[in-house]
C-alpha cells in the first residue's frame, strides 16, 4: 500500500468509528446543554445498551449466515427495543437521581452521576453472569457479539484496484448513524418540542415563564440522548463484535472528549467532534501506537479546555464554558 492509501484507509476507519462516537457524544452534549451536567453515567448506559442488544440477539436466535430478510428484520426490532430500553432507563435515572438535585450544591449532581455510573457498570457485570448462551461462561470476560453484517469490499467489487477497503460494514454504520443524526437535527430545529428544548437550554427560568414545561422537556432530552446511545451500542457491537462490562468508561470519555472538542451544548458540534475524534484515534493508532491513543485523546481534551473551552462550534458567549 502506498502512503496515500494508508492515509485514506485511516480516514475511512476514522469516519466509521467517529460516527459511532458522535451518537454517544450527542447524549453528553444535549444533557450538558440543558441542565449543565456532565452525565458521567452516559458511557455505562451505552454499555448496558450493548448488553441488551446482545441478549436480544441471543433470544432471537439470529446467527451469522441467516438470510438477509431474517437478519435485517430481526435487527430492526432489536434496534427499536434497545433504543427504548436505554432511552427509558435514562429517563428513570433523570427522574430518580438528578431531578431531586436541581437546587443542590454544585458538586452534588456530578457526584450522583458518578454513583449512577458505578451502579450501571456493576449491573453490566452481573448481567454478564446471567445464564444466557451468548454471555459465555466467564461473567467478567469480554463477550463476543455475533458477526451478522457481511464484510464485502465495495471498492474492489466496483472494479477499483486500490489497497483501500470500504466494506459493507462501514456502509452499515454510516447508513444507520447518519439518518439518526439528520432526524435529530430536524427534530431540534423544526418541531415545537425541539424549539422548547432549545429555549430551555438557553434559559430554563425564562422558558418556564413562557409556559414551557421544563421538567418534561428535560425528560425528553434524556430519552433522546439515551436512545441514541442504545443505537450506538448496537452498531458498535455489530461492527467490532466484542463488548465488555467496563467498556462504558473508556467509550464515555472518548465521546465526552468529542462533545467538548465540538463545543459542549452544541448538537452539530458533537457530530463534528465525534468524526474528528474518530479520525484522530485512527491516525494515532497508526502513526504513534494504539496503546498511547487514550493519552493522546486526553492531551487534546486538556488542550481544548485550556485554550478554547467553548470548542469548535460552542456557544460564542462562553456561557456554557
Amino acid at each position: 500500500m502506498s502512503g496515500a492509501e494508508v492515509l485514506a484507509q485511516q480516514l475511512v476507519n476514522g469516519l466509521t468509528l467517529g460516527s459511532v462516537i458522535a451518537l454517544v457524544a450527542i447524549g453528553y452534549t444535549m444533557v450538558y446543554g440543558i441542565i449543565g451536567l456532565i452525565n458521567f453515567a452516559h458511557g455505562d448506559l451505552y454499555m448496558l445498551g450493548a448488553f441488551a442488544a446482545l441478549s436480544l440477539i441471543g433470544v432471537s436466535g439470529l446467527a451469522p449466515g441467516d438470510g438477509a430478510a431474517a437478519t435485517w428484520g430481526t435487527l430492526a426490532w432489536v434496534l427499536v427495543l434497545v433504543m427504548a430500553f436505554t432511552g427509558g432507563l435514562n429517563v428513570l435515572i433523570e427522574r430518580w437521581a438528578y431531578r431531586p438535585l436541581r437546587r443542590a450544591q454544585p458538586l452534588a449532581p456530578l457526584i450522583t452521576a458518578i454513583g449512577v455510573s458505578f451502579i450501571l457498570q456493576n449491573l453490566g457485570m452481573l448481567w454478564g453472569a446471567l445464564p444466557l448462551e451468548v454471555m459465555g461462561t466467564n461473567a467478567v470476560a469480554p463477550k463476543s457479539f455475533p458477526d451478522l453484517i457481511p464484510r464485502v469490499d465495495l471498492l474492489s467489487r466496483m472494479g477499483l484496484a486500490t489497497g483501500v477497503r470500504v466494506t459493507t460494514k462501514d456502509l452499515f454504520v454510516m447508513g444507520l448513524t447518519v439518518p439518526l443524526m439528520l432526524g435529530l437535527h430536524l427534530f431540534v430545529t423544526r418541531t415545537r418540542l425541539g424549539t422548547a428544548m432549545r429555549a430551555t437550554s438557553q434559559n430554563r427560568e425564562a422558558a418556564r415563564m413562557v409556559g414551557i414545561p421544563a421538567d418534561r422537556v428535560i425528560a425528553v432530552t434524556f430519552l433522546i440522548g439515551g436512545a441514541l446511545a442504545g443505537a450506538g451500542a448496537l452498531v458498535r457491537g455489530l461492527f467490532f463484535n466484542t463488548i465488555v462490562f467496563n467498556m462504558g468508561y473508556g467509550a464515555g470519555l472518548q465521546a465526552f472528549t468529542a462533545a467538548v472538542v465540538g463545543g459542549i451544548g452544541s448538537i452539530p458540534g458533537a457530530m463534528l467532534g465525534g468524526l474528528l475524534i474518530g479520525l484522530i484515534s485512527a491516525l494515532s493508532d497508526h502513526l504513534i501506537s494504539a496503546r498511547w491513543t487514550p493519552a493522546v485523546l486526553f492531551l487534546i481534551l486538556i488542550a481544548v479546555l485550556v485554550f478554547r473551552p467553548r470548542g469548535l462550534l460552542g456557544d460564542p458567549t462562553g456561557q456554557k464554558a
Binding site: L37, I38, A97, I111, F118, A129, S289, F298
Partner: protein, 348 residues
C-alpha cells in the same frame, strides 16, 4: 458560620465518640491478639485509604475542587519509592529517603496538574483531573525503560534497618499497623493546622465564592496550586508506604477505580471534614475488605457453590453498593454520614 478564631470554636458534641474511636484504633492490635482475629495486617491498607481520604478531602471538601484522578498522585509516590529503592534500579536508597522523595513527587505532579486549570473550576476542572488520572497509568504501562511497563516494580524496600527484613512477617503486622496509624495521625495533624491557618481559611473562602475571595485578596490561582500540590503530597506519602507494604508496584493498582473509591470515601464521610473522611474510610474499607469476604464465605457455605456462586460473591456488588451510597447520600444527607457541626451552613 465558622468563627474566625480557633479559641471561639464551640465544643464538639461528638468529641467523646471521636476519642473512643481513637482509643479503639490504638488498642485494636491488643484486642486482635487477645481474640486471635489475625486482622491487624488487613487493617493496614484500611489506614492507608484513610490517609488518602484525608488528603483528597482537602481538595474536594475544603477547596471545592472535584478531583477525579487522585490515583495518579498515589502512583507518583509509589513509583518514586519503587524506582529509588528497588534493586532493579541503580539508586537503592533507603525507604525513608525515598518516601520524602515520593511526597515531593506527589506534590510536584499536583502543582503541575494545576497549571492547565488555573482558570477552570467545577466540571471542567474535574474533567482535566480525570484526564491526568488517565494519562498517568497509560504512561506507566507504556514507558517501559523507566517504569518496567506491565511488569511493575518489585520488591520495594521495607522500612527500618535492613536487619528488620522480616517486617512482612505476621508478627510484625503490629509494627506496620502502628506505622500506618502514626502516619495517619501526622496527616490529620497537618490538616488541622492547615485548616486553622491563613492558607486553610483562604481555601474555604475560595470554595464558598471564588469572586468574593479574590476581592478579599486571595490569589485564586495560587489556591489551586496549593490544593492540588498538598493533596498530591499526601497521596505520594500513602503511595510510598503502600508500595513498601505490598511490596510490589503494578500499573493496574493506580487506575480509576482507586480514584473513585477514595472519592466515595470522602463524599460518604462528609465533605470538608477530616473526621468524616477518617471514619468514613475506616468503616467503609473495613466493610469492603474484611466483612464482605467473610459474608461471602458464609453465604456460599449456606447455599453451596453452584452455578450461581458469582451472584453470592459480595465483592461483585462493591460498586453497586458504593454507587447507591453516593446517590442516596447526595440526595438525603449531603453533609455525609458523619457531618461536621455546622453541616447545614457549610454544605447547604
Amino acid at each position: 458560620m465558622t468563627p474566625a478564631r480557633t479559641g471561639e470554636r464551640p465544643r464538639d458534641p461528638h468529641a467523646p465518640f471521636h476519642r473512643a474511636g481513637l482509643a479503639a484504633l490504638v488498642l485494636f492490635p491488643a484486642a486482635d491478639h487477645l481474640l486471635d482475629l489475625r486482622l491487624v495486617g488487613d487493617v493496614v491498607p484500611v489506614l492507608l485509604f484513610a490517609i488518602l481520604a484525608v488528603g483528597l478531602n482537602a481538595t474536594v471538601g475544603l477547596g471545592g475542587l472535584l478531583q477525579l484522578g487522585y490515583a495518579a498522585y498515589f502512583a507518583a509516590g509509589a513509583y518514586a519509592a519503587g524506582i529509588l529503592t528497588s534493586v532493579a534500579y541503580p539508586f537503592q536508597l533507603p525507604l525513608e529517603v525515598a518516601t520524602a522523595a515520593a511526597v515531593g513527587a506527589g506534590a510536584l505532579l499536583g502543582a503541575l496538574s494545576a497549571l492547565p486549570v488555573l482558570r477552570l473550576k467545577g466540571d471542567y476542572l474535574a474533567i482535566v483531573t480525570l484526564g491526568i488520572g488517565e494519562i498517568v497509568p497509560v504512561t506507566l504501562r507504556n514507558l517501559e525503560p523507566i517504569t518496567k511497563g506491565e511488569f511493575g516494580i518489585s520488591p520495594v524496600d521495607l522500612p527500618g534497618p535492613r536487619a528488620w527484613e522480616d517486617w512482612t512477617n505476621t508478627t510484625h503486622g503490629v509494627l506496620w499497623y502502628y506505622l500506618a496509624l502514626a502516619l495517619l495521625g501526622l496527616v490529620v495533624y497537618c490538616q488541622r493546622r492547615l485548616e486553622r491557618s491563613r492558607i486553610g481559611r483562604a481555601w474555604e473562602a475560595f470554595r464558598e465564592d471564588e469572586l468574593a475571595a479574590s476581592a478579599c485578596g486571595v490569589d485564586t490561582a495560587a489556591v489551586r496550586v496549593q490544593l492540588l500540590a498538598y493533596s498530591g503530597a499526601v497521596a505520594g506519602l500513602a503511595g510510598a508506604v503502600s508500595a513498601s507494604y505490598v511490596p510490589a508496584i503494578l500499573p493496574s493498582q493506580y487506575e480509576f477505580p482507586i480514584s473513585a473509591m477514595v472519592l466515595s470515601l470522602v463524599v460518604l464521610g462528609g465533605l470538608g471534614n477530616w473526621r468524616g473522611a477518617v471514619w468514613g474510610a475506616i468503616l467503609l474499607v473495613s466493610l469492603d475488605r474484611i466483612l464482605a469476604p467473610s459474608l461471602t464465605r458464609w453465604a456460599q457455605s449456606l447455599v453451596g457453590s453452584g452455578s450461581y456462586s458469582f451472584f453470592l460473591e459480595f465483592s461483585n456488588y462493591r460498586f453497586l453498593l458504593f454507587g447507591l451510597a453516593l446517590v442516596l447520600v447526595m440526595r438525603w444527607r449531603p453533609g455525609g454520614l458523619f457531618p461536621p457541626r455546622a453541616a447545614q451552613e457549610r454544605v447547604g
